[in-house]
């Protein structure tokens, strides 16, 4: 075939290509082992010597042109394919909510985890305790004397065997001091029990998170520091704290710790009963008798302790208005909790 003829035919063939397959057979037809152009190149042996060079150049030129055209065509076909894919992609409405069921962590667990993480970051160990306690651990070891009203029937659940349902996480103080000694930085959350009338903010069953710091020279100023830092981290905003005098047998001096209301920043709202402050945490410098009973050398060490109201914090955290939600097991309520 005349060389010019090859190109004309190719140009005509090209217009018929629509798929990858036809592109490949077109390539084979011209450039394959027995392809038209390959044959043309083989013809060079029959070309007179003086025209060999020119012939070779012409064939190669046509070959390059064909190769380029095939390459272009390949890209065009790919483009077309992608375009087709795009055109055929279904529109999806991402504003439709997902419908599968959600689990939930208990609000107390969520609050507890948050507080634990903050205290751990400040070098506190986390301990566990028992809900059924000895009279010694619940009362004696935290300096609650025999005649103290707290020991009377009305506040404590007593068990047949003389044990009690712990009335506070402080019941674990003695055990923790004996186990770890001083210096000590520890928290221990847990469930506590009081034999008292149930209302919107009180139930027989509630959660506390006890903390203790014992070291040389621990001061009231340090206590304020830790509580303020912890609350600021838990609420994710600057929280003010204030101490008021309180009275607990296991601390001296004892304080009621109020935090500025995180909802209204202390300006007054329904959560803080318009006072701007929320009573959150009884605390104080650990009574020397309590330290002594825990085997701590009181000539060398002193410290502070606090009993954070974890149920209270959980309720504040999730804006829960009654403690019944926490102990009530109504899934309609509990399933509202996000995990964090």
């Amino acid at each position: 075939m005349e060389l010019e003829q090859i190109l004309i035919q190719f140009n005509d063939d090209v217009t018929k290509v629509e798929t990858d397959e036809s592109l490949n057979s077109l390539r084979t037809k011209y450039l394959g082992k027995t392809g038209i152009l390959t044959d043309a190149l083989k013809e060079i042996k029959n070309v007179p010597v003086e025209r060999k060079k020119a012939y070779g150049e012409s064939v190669n030129k046509i070959k390059t042109e064909i190769e380029n055209k095939l390459e272009n065509l390949k890209l065009q076909l790919e483009d077309k394919l992608i375009q087709n894919k795009l055109n055929n992609t279904k529109n999806i409405d991402l504003t439709i909510p997902y419908s599968h069921d959600k689990g939930s962590l208990h609000p107390v667990t969520i609050a507890e985890h948050k507080v634990i993480e903050v205290f751990r970051s400040m070098g506190f160990i986390v301990e566990d305790g028992f809900e059924v306690e000895t009279e010694y651990n619940n009362f004696e070891a935290v300096n609650v004397p025999k005649d103290h009203p707290a020991r009377d029937m009305q506040d404590t659940f007593w068990l047949e065997n003389g044990q009690v349902l712990r009335t506070h996480t402080s019941a674990n103080q003695n055990r923790v001091m004996k186990q770890y000694g001083a210096p000590l930085r520890a928290i221990f959350p847990g469930r506590c029990y009081r034999n008292e009338t149930v209302d919107a903010s009180h139930d027989t069953t509630f959660w506390q998170l006890e903390g203790m710091v014992i070291d040389e020279n621990i001061s009231i100023a340090n206590l304020i520091f830790f509580m303020k830092t912890m609350l600021t981290k838990v609420f994710g905003k600057e929280i003010k704290v204030r101490l008021r005098p309180g009275y607990f047998p296991f601390t001296e001096p004892s304080f009621e710790l109020d935090c500025s209301c995180p909802y209204c920043d202390g300006n007054g709202c329904s959560v803080c009963k318009h006072g701007g402050w929320i009573e959150l945490c009884p605390c104080g410098m650990i009574h020397p008798e309590v330290l002594k009973m825990g085997g701590i050398d009181i000539e060398k060490y002193q410290g502070f302790a606090f009993g954070l109201g974890l149920s209270r914090l959980a309720m504040m955290n999730k804006d829960i208005r009654t403690i019944r939600v926490l102990n009530g097991c109504k899934l309609k309520e509990l399933k509202q909790a996000k995990i964090k």
Binding site: L105, T134, D147, Q163, Y193, S219, F225, L331
Partner: protein, 787 residues
Amino acid sequence: MYISINWIKDYVDLDGIDIINLIQNRFTMAVAEVEGIQIKGENLSGVVTAKIIKVDDHPNSKKLHILKVDKGDEIVEVVCGAPNVKEGMITALATTHANVLGQSITVSKIAGIDSNGMCCSAKELGISDDHSGIFEFEKDTPVGIDVKKILPIDDIIFEIDNKSLTNRPDLWGHYGIAREISALTHRPLKKLEIFSGDVSNLPNLDIKVKSDTCFRYTSATMKNITKKISPMTMQIRLYYTGMRAINFLADITNYVMLELGQPMHAFDNSLVKKIEVENIDSEVKFTTLDGQERVLPKDTMVIKGNGEISAIAGVMGGLDSEIKDNTTSVLIESACFHPAKVRRTATSIGLRTESSSRYEKSLDPELTIIALKRYINLVKSIDNCAEISSNITDIYNFKYEPVTINITKEYIDNYTGIEFDKDTILSTLKSLEFEVIENGNKYEIHVPSFRATKDIKGKPDIVEEVARIFGYDNIKPVSPNMEVLPVDLNRKIDAEYSLKYTLATKFNLSEIHTYLWYDYETNKYLNINPKSYLKIINSLQKYNDELRTTLIPSQLKVVLENKEDFDNFGVFEIGSAVVGLDKQGQAIEQKKLCITLYNKIENTDKLLELKEMLEYSINDILMSKIKFVKATSNVDYISPKNYYEIICDGETIGFIGMIHPKILNLIDKRCGIVVAELDFNKISSSQIYETKFEKVSIYPKSELDFNFLINKDILYSDIYLIATSYQSDIKYKVSLLDIFDHNEQLKSYTLHYEIWSDNRTLNGDEIDNFHKQIIQTFKDKGIELKL
């Protein structure tokens, strides 16, 4: 407790001080919680003294009268319905434009006649609950004067939370509060006026203290009492601070109690002449002065007057010996009783009084004589005729040890984190009546008796006194200097959270908290009787007293409470249970993980789902290893079918199973409930199986599938043992692709084998041989390939 600022002002000069700020901020922050502040008299203005000149009948009413009233600058006509109106009486007239109880007074027609004002009762003046008639002033009271100039109606009353005074017996009276305010304001505390005469020439009273729970009994008698009612100033103070005026002699006992915190009792001396304090040896009936008959249990401490019980010591007096209208002589009791004794008595007879709640706080026995002398002083200053008729007789059997505390400035600074100046320390302590002997930076501190009964015992108590008056707000937060050390991560705490997190997020379960005791009603309804080892002896709800050994009944209650809201749900709890008693009889407490899945329509796949939850969260997340072994349920509310024990480190730690159909029938006839419960403590202390990465072979894997026909009763765990028993240098992994019923006896199991070598590509012969060997392995156990 209510505190009157007028009363405080008797003892501390508060001129120029912002009282609301003082109470709301400084007092709250340094002394005790203030629950509320009332401004007395703010709803009353324009009320003047006025004389009733003429009383005329009202033409249209039998009850109403038309009065001509002289209000100083003019005589006005007022319509009045009070029964006690009479000519010549001086009363309180609310003129037009006056304000009474927050309402403004205008000229108004009453039954057709214009009334130019209103005559007020004591209640309308806000100084009493008495609304029986209009208020009557003394005869010689001038007219036209604002009533507030004659009666101390204007006052500020603040209420202190009694709980915050638990350890402060000294603050149960105005004088003690005044002492605190004196320290806070740096103004002197005025001395109390008390009787100072010598009566030692008068006869002693016959007082016998036979009870060791009576610490001190101080008494005296007075005669020729002519006053029947106490002065208005006193009545208003009593009313404002929550008491009611009764009669002169009784009012003064209350007044002294509210002033000094010392409860007192006044007996009619004509009926009670000698006193015995003793604990009764048998139960007795006794009528207290509130008119109630009460049963006093054996061992109650009582006061006997002339051999008859006249009072329950520290709680309340008796009806028979109380002060009456015709009483002219009085025996005054000012005593100190054992705090816990009084509290127990009050609790046992269900009668907590102003008196008992003060004694409970450990009153200072030194106070009895001061209070008695204050009583005498008040009676004599009001009633000129009154005379003291006995020696002050004092039986003082128990004294608290004086408390002396040695402390250094360094200790105070170190404990608070504040560098105090010496004067602050000294002046604060002195203003609170502590005696301080100074020796450089060392102080020897003598604690006043009213703080030494239980409150102040050691050095930290002194720190508190200094710091609170200084103001806790002035202590700046400071981080301690501490060594940086890594924290031991408590595996149990971490495992608990990881497990909860996994169950909630991956398996959509909801965490719940249920009570530590069984719910009697639920168990009764479901007719189950789960085991319990320990009972609460004073449970709040009858029968809800058994501590649980298992969380399942609690979760069944949760199912009952939620089944109407959701068709399918799963709940879990990691909670305590008491699973036994040790040799000493102490509770063995165990934290248990319990999961319940509820389906409105029974679905047997749920059991597998639950198993998967446990395996995934415990084996894959916590890296412990649990296994399931078929067993027999020994609990009647769990179905005998499909009951498996959960094994961890070779020990049975719990079970998984289905709730028995007889229980399901009571919940919902078509529903299905699957449960699992296990010892969480065991999980969190079990062996950890760390994942080691295996080298992934670079040679290709071949895949082989087999269908075996296997007896239905054989467990997959046993089939798996056979499937993996072939020993070869060829590596392989077996998984279960499918199971279906073949016939009545046999199931078809499709097992999928991946086989490979770490050092070569397996050739056809090797693969064929492997195939044959597996078939042979099964054949050896009598299991045939499905053809």
